[in-house]
């Protein structure tokens, strides 16, 4: 087991900088998920830890020892590839045995290690088959088995569920989590799927354009996004975003005269720079009411997505369409009249220029 640290890591591909002054400490036994769009640098960061990619500048430490100049083989780290990368000419058993054979482990020890891993991952019945004869899920189990069999310092996974279908993804996600809890191995997992990230991670690391945006627990990044990118990237449906105008304790949407009443102290605490403010509010913080009441603003529904457990209702407020999460069947149909309010405690304000959360991320 291991603690992994990245200090001031820079990585250029030609003139293109894909990692910008990257800092991260991954604690022993922690499950860290790197989340971001494709091309955001998350895979590069992962490959840099593994030693599959050299870094231009900075330090990578495993258990306090600098490894940035060491080859992948000398870092004792396992890697699960998105494409599985099983050896197609070998049976499942030979695939799992490969990392043990490569370091000349003796046969008896090897067989018991393979047996144990195969049982944990429920692939014992496939041991003598070729990878091409397996389903996608089983192939990924074999790939994870090959990674775990030698009890590595850390387990790195690069979108391991990316090529599986939805149902299998959910199942494998649960299995990976279970495996992590059972083994307690330090794990770093890369994905662009925020649901995967939320469900697996002890801590989520959000990257955008090679820059670290936020590191925090799933709750933390969901409830207290540090900037507009994180706010929009995490959560489904996406957070409502609108340019707003603040006058005293009133927050007005464009084209909507009435505006919402906010607690004056909340607004005065904003570190406003005068570059204009964007309001961000999650659908569950957009409150709908069937009747007029204090602080509620009149609006018309434009679309309803019944999702079974809840509905997503679109309401038009001035020039803006806000999405609200309601209990199912709360609004009958489109064009219905409703009253809308915002939960001030869950409202975020972002600076239009810096895109930083003006509530200081708290």
């Amino acid at each position: 087991m291991a603690q992994i640290e990245m200090r001031n890591v820079q990585k250029f591909f030609g003139a293109n900088q894909v990692l910008k002054d990257f800092h991260l400490t991954i604690e022993d036994g922690e499950f860290v998920v790197m989340l971001g769009q494709s091309g955001g640098g998350k895979t590069t960061a992962l490959r840099a830890i593994a030693g599959l990619e050299t870094i231009t500048d900075g330090k990578i430490l495993i258990n306090g020892k600098e490894v940035q100049d060491k080859k992948a083989a000398d870092r004792d780290i396992a890697f699960v590839f998105q494409s599985f990368s099983l050896y197609p000419h070998m049976t499942v058993r030979e695939n799992i045995a490969f990392p043990l054979r490569a370091v000349r482990m003796d046969a008896a020890e090897r067989d018991s290690a393979i047996k144990e891993v195969a049982e944990t991952l429920q692939i014992a019945q496939h041991l003598d088959r070729k990878p091409s004869a397996l389903s996608g899920g089983d192939m990924q189990r074999v790939a994870i088995g090959r990674a775990l069999v030698r009890r590595p310092q850390a387990l790195l996974m690069d979108e391991p569920l990316g090529v599986l279908d939805t149902e299998l993804r959910e199942q494998m996600r649960a299995e990976i989590k279970r495996l992590h809890i059972a083994r307690g191995s330090t794990s770093v997992y890369v994905t662009h799927d925020q649901i995967e990230a939320m469900s697996l991670a002890d801590r989520i690391v959000i990257l955008h354009d090679g820059v670290l945006q936020q590191v925090g627990s799933p709750d933390d990044v969901y409830l207290h996004p540090t900037n507009l990118f994180v706010a929009k990237f995490v959560g489904s449906p996406v957070m409502n975003i609108a340019d707003v105008h603040i006058e005293g304790s009133r927050v007005a949407l464009p084209g909507d005269g009435a505006g919402f009443q906010f607690d004056e102290t909340t607004l005065s605490k904003l570190q406003n720079t005068g570059d204009g403010v964007t309001l961000g509010i999650r659908p569950e913080a957009v409150l709908l009411s069937q009747k007029k009441s204090k602080g509620y603003v009149e609006a018309v529904t434009t679309n309803i997505e019944p999702l079974g457990s809840h509905d997503i209702v679109d309401v038009r407020l001035g020039d803006t369409v806000m999405r609200a999460r309601t209990e199912s069947g709360f609004v009958r149909g489109e064009g219905a009249q409703v009253w809308v309010n915002l939960d001030p405690s869950q409202a975020h304000f972002f600076d239009n220029k810096t895109e930083l959360n003006l509530r200081g991320g708290a």
């Binding site: 599959l52 083989a73 780290i77 990368s85 490969f98 990392p99």
Partner: protein
């Protein structure tokens, strides 16, 4: 039948105006080829099979006399013929092994990003494009004990490459390797570049050393295409005639093709040489079949 899948003739075309039908045009293309094949390939093949059971000599007017399997019996019990076979086997082994080692080695060297890679590859392929007889004559000059450049560079003085009975066969094989290693290189290069890069990354992560990676990943992945190169080169090496004939006339370099040539066109033993040719044909087919069986086994993996 076949006419169902053919493109219909445009009724406004010139061919239609001349009264040709689809079928006529198809026949115009196919019949000459079939006639050619029958006259120059299939007919001689069957005719020589007939001759192989007679004592016919093309140099005399004596009618052919049927002798049954006598020719085959004589050939297979002739120790000199077996000597030719063992020389050929040795030659095939040296030449093909050399080509695979050199060709695969070159492919490994070229299988990376190199400046001028395209130019280097093209230059390496040049020997393959030359005529066998020309290559033979060139190398005869290069090997020459008096003014040959090989002895000059290796500092071997007046070493007789082609006249030394123990070395001559090796000297011919070296020329064959020089000429055909590029062919193996070309196929190996195709095989090597088809190995997915992520497998090497996986092997690196799995802490496999470079030798272990080579024997457990690279070689098995390239094996099928390498086998095809070996099949081609073995068949060709087995039939080698011109190169050996031009370079040397030692008894130790008398390959079966040369023996066959002498038997047929210098000694005029037409019947006997037909039988000999059939024995060689059966052997080539047999060897090729062994390889193909093995190739299928490799491919099934």
């Amino acid at each position: 039948m076949a006419s169902d899948v053919m493109t219909k003739l445009d009724p406004k075309s010139k061919a239609a105006a001349k009264g040709f039908s689809d079928l006529t045009i198809r026949n115009l293309f196919i019949i000459p080829t079939i006639v050619f094949l029958i006259v120059f390939n299939i007919f001689p093949l069957l005719y020589s099979l007939g001759y192989s059971f007679t004592d016919f000599r093309a140099s005399t007017n004596n009618p052919a006399k049927f002798v049954g399997l006598q020719n085959y019996r004589d050939l297979l019990s002739d120790p000199f013929i077996w000597k030719n076979f063992s020389i050929t086997a040795k030659y095939v082994l040296i030449s093909v092994t050399g080509q695979v080692v050199v060709g695969f080695g070159l492919a490994m060297l070229l299988n990376r990003t190199l400046p001028l890679k395209g130019l280097i590859t093209t230059l390496l392929l040049l020997p393959m494009m030359l005529s066998m007889a020309v290559v033979g004559l060139f190398w005869k000059l290069l090997y020459d004990p008096n003014f040959g450049i090989i002895n000059y560079f290796l500092g071997l003085g007046k070493f007789e490459w082609l006249a030394d009975p123990d070395v001559a066969l090796w000297a011919i094989a070296i020329v064959d390797i020089w000429m055909w290693a590029p062919f193996v290189m070309l196929l190996s290069l195709a095989g090597l570049s088809a190995v997915p890069k992520h497998l090497y990354e996986a092997a690196e992560i799995d802490r496999a050393g470079s030798l272990y990676t080579f024997f457990r990943i690279t070689l098995p992945m390239v094996a099928p295409i390498l086998m095809i190169a070996i099949i081609f080169r073995t068949m060709e090496a087995f039939k080698t005639f011109d190169l050996a004939y031009v370079l040397s006339s030692q008894p130790t370099t008398e390959l079966i093709a040369i023996r066959l040539y002498k038997m047929a066109f210098q000694e005029w033993q037409t019947g006997m040489s037909s039988a000999f040719a059939y024995i060689v044909l059966i052997m080539v087919v047999a060897i090729t079949n062994i390889y193909v069986k093995y190739l299928n086994k490799v491919k099934a993996r």
